[in-house]
């Protein structure tokens, strides 16, 4: 059987039980996505882009069961932050648990509320950035999402949002299989902080399309759920206008399989794009950050900072590409991916790539894998710090560079505190 046929068969099995309504403004982009999906099929493990991460569990017709995580009395990420909460349980909006979504300068709707209307502002965005992001590498899990997403939020920002909008994903069932699609439009000069946290489902597929117009600022901070067996594939597609700013940070602790893709295109001059991630994995943990950053205009700045701490056979993957088009002179690109391997069983696989067509650019990249610094460990112990705490201190220190990418000091502190307490709990 040909490779193409295998992909088509996988696709047929995957979407057998999925469907969408053929009415309203959403029908056209969904139909187009299904056509695109049929042309490429689902990813295969022989695809170069899936070389380090086996897509089988993401392709499978049903989600593998995942036990629920009981956090006990542990505070959740962002608990201390004043925000507008929107709660989804197994992908279904929970109005009772959510806040009133009215926020000055911000228009928040859900996909299911408006899907059957004849027209909507999001019709120009839904599936559009995702489709642009399919070149040069196809991302079939994202196309699948566009075609079959069951809900999501549509956010249009016209001013400065007074507080963050917070998407909280709760997992209610051990077999839930959820597809959510969000569209976010920041109009010129607008600003929004979007928070996401929680396991969401046994298997989660999210797409977030973000259009950041000239001078607008978007901050995204995400804490992926701590359920040990959850699986997730996420995509962020962003397009950045002139002098706009996009900053995204993801904290991942636990999860059997995580593939976070981020596709950013800077189309306006002097735009800024920062993507960062801190991941802590123990045992059955496979965490993949795949980033594709396009400098399509002069004077833009991009930063990628990814740190992973791995032990007991955990695997970390980083595939990061910076593409600098010929027009993008005075580009400033920085990329660092590092792993801290706490034992010999764990592994980190990195593929940094630069493709540069402009001649006046500054691009640097680095990737390292290392063990814990034994001298530093001994120094701490010699001052009376028990080995396990000393190790946690060094782990936090290692992750600090990624966490410091978060612009809001209060949120950064919240992330740091949560991480610290997780590491402490882990020791016990």
């Amino acid at each position: 059987m040909s490779v193409a046929q295998v992909k088509q068969d996988a696709l047929a099995a995957r979407i057998a039980d999925l469907s969408f309504a053929e009415k309203g403004w959403l029908a056209a982009p969904r139909r187009a996505a299904l056509d695109r999906l049929s042309a490429v099929g689902l990813p295969g493990k022989r695809d170069e882009y899936w070389r380090y991460t086996d897509p089988a569990a993401l392709n499978a017709p049903a989600a593998a069961p995942a036990a629920l995580f009981d956090p006990g009395d542990e505070p959740q990420v962002f608990d201390q932050i004043d925000r507008v909460k929107l709660v989804f349980v197994d992908g279904v909006f929970d109005a009772a648990a959510s806040d009133d979504p009215r926020l000055s300068g911000v228009e928040i709707e859900r996909l299911t509320e408006v899907a059957t209307r004849d027209s909507h502002w999001a019709s120009g965005l839904y599936g559009a950035l995702e489709a642009r992001g399919q070149n040069p590498v196809s991302r079939p899990q994202a196309i699948l999402n566009t075609a079959f997403a069951t809900d999501g939020v549509l956010i249009r920002v016209t001013g400065q949002a007074k507080k963050p909008v917070s998407l909280i994903y709760k997992q209610g069932s051990t077999t839930s299989d959820v597809i959510l699609h969000h569209c976010i439009q920041l109009e010129a000069g607008a600003e929004l902080t979007l928070l996401e946290n929680g396991a969401a489902a046994a298997r989660l597929n999210t797409v977030m399309e973000v259009e950041v117009d000239d001078g607008a600022r978007f901050h995204h901070i995400r804490g992926q759920g701590r359920a040990h067996e959850r699986q997730a594939v996420t995509h962020i597609f962003a397009r950045l206008g002139k002098e706009s700013s996009f900053k995204s940070f993801t904290l991942s602790a636990n999860g059997r399989l995580t593939r976070n893709e981020c596709v950013i295109e800077m189309t306006g001059e002097n735009a800024v794009a920062h993507v960062a991630g801190a991941a802590v994995g123990d045992g059955d943990f496979h965490h993949d950050d795949t980033v594709f950053l396009t400098h399509g205009a002069p004077g833009c700045e991009s930063r990628q900072v990814f740190k992973k701490v791995l032990k007991n056979g955990a695997t970390g993957v980083f595939q990061g590409k910076i593409l600098v088009k010929q027009v993008a002179q005075k580009t400033d690109g920085y990329q660092i991916s590092q792993s801290l391997l706490l034992d010999d069983d764990s592994q980190f696989l990195a593929k940094p790539e630069l493709e540069i067509y402009a001649d006046d650019v500054k691009c640097s990249h680095g990737s390292t894998s290392g063990a814990i610094d034994e001298t530093a460990l001994f120094y701490l112990q010699s001052r009376g710090v028990p080995k396990s705490i000393a190790q946690s201190l060094l782990v936090l220190a290692f992750l600090a560079e990624a966490i410091s990418e978060i612009e809001d000091a209060e949120i950064a502190e919240d992330i740091r505190t949560r991480l610290e307490s997780w590491l402490e709990r882990h020791e016990r």
């Binding site: 001994f378 010699s382 009376g384 710090v385 220190a397």
Partner: protein
């Protein structure tokens, strides 16, 4: 206080013997100095006492107030009251000096069954002690030893010692890399900690540190053994004539 008997140590990886039967007894309140040529095993002795990996004790014992140190983890030795001021203090990027100090102080208090210091109380104590060592607030905020000058690193060691209040302090070439003024400052910090319940073992190459930290007893170490013990005059003899005479005399 500290009692070392017939201590034999070799490197774990190579079959190289470093200490060949060290005997040393330090009473409470005493300051002992160990001098000796390069490679005589001085620093190894300090590492073995504090529990660094890579050394194998093949014979002998080292006790602190009767407790066998060599069986303990490094942090247990610290909690028991041992402190090593490093010859080369370690840089730890990402860990704030203040966090480091507070974690260490509270870990030791916890190990001894004492209540942990509150953030406010800790801050008060650390600021006061830092001031006498001319360590400013900015240095306390920076990551541990990162970007510190040689003198700042050594002063930071003494600050840790002052905060942890150990009963047995081992100073491994604390004078190395210091100019005269910095050495004086460090020595003052050490002298301020001298009391009847606290002992010091000062490892050094040079007499000049001993002008500032006056020892009760001076030992000469060579080829993994203490070959001669005397009063402060022994250090002067080394300063004037080098080690050759003493080595010859012992042979």
């Amino acid at each position: 206080m500290l009692e070392i008997n017939n201590l034999h140590v070799k490197l774990e990886e190579e079959d190289k013997v470093i200490l060949r039967g060290v005997d040393l007894k330090i009473k409470a309140g005493e300051v002992h100095a160990i001098m000796g040529p390069n490679g005589s095993g001085k620093s190894t002795l300090s590492y073995v006492l504090s529990g660094r990996d890579g050394y194998e004790v093949t014979d002998g014992s080292a006790t602190l107030d009767g407790e066998e140190l060599l069986e303990m983890e490094p942090e247990e030795r610290a909690a028991a009251g041992l402190f090593l001021a490093f010859q080369y203090p370690v840089e730890i990027p990402g860990v704030g000096n203040m966090t480091f100090l507070r974690t260490a102080v509270n870990a030791q208090r916890k190990a001894r069954g004492e209540e942990e210091l509150s953030a406010g109380d800790f801050l008060k104590v650390v600021r006061e002690k830092a001031k006498t060592l001319k360590i400013d607030a900015e240095m306390l905020k920076r990551p541990v030893n990162v970007g510190f000058s040689g003198g700042e690193k050594k002063r930071n060691e003494i600050l840790q010692m002052a905060m942890l209040e150990p009963k047995m302090c081992v100073l491994d070439e604390t004078d190395s890399g210091l100019d005269v003024d910095a050495m004086k400052l460090v020595a003052e910090g050490v002298n301020a900690l001298r009391d009847a319940g606290r002992s010091f073992l000062v490892i050094t190459h040079y007499q000049r540190l001993l002008d500032h930290i006056k020892p009760d007893v001076v030992h000469i170490m060579s080829a993994g053994r203490i070959i001669k013990t005397g009063g402060p005059e022994l250090a002067l003899e080394v300063e004037n004539n080098g080690y050759a005479d003493i080595l010859a005399e012992v042979k």
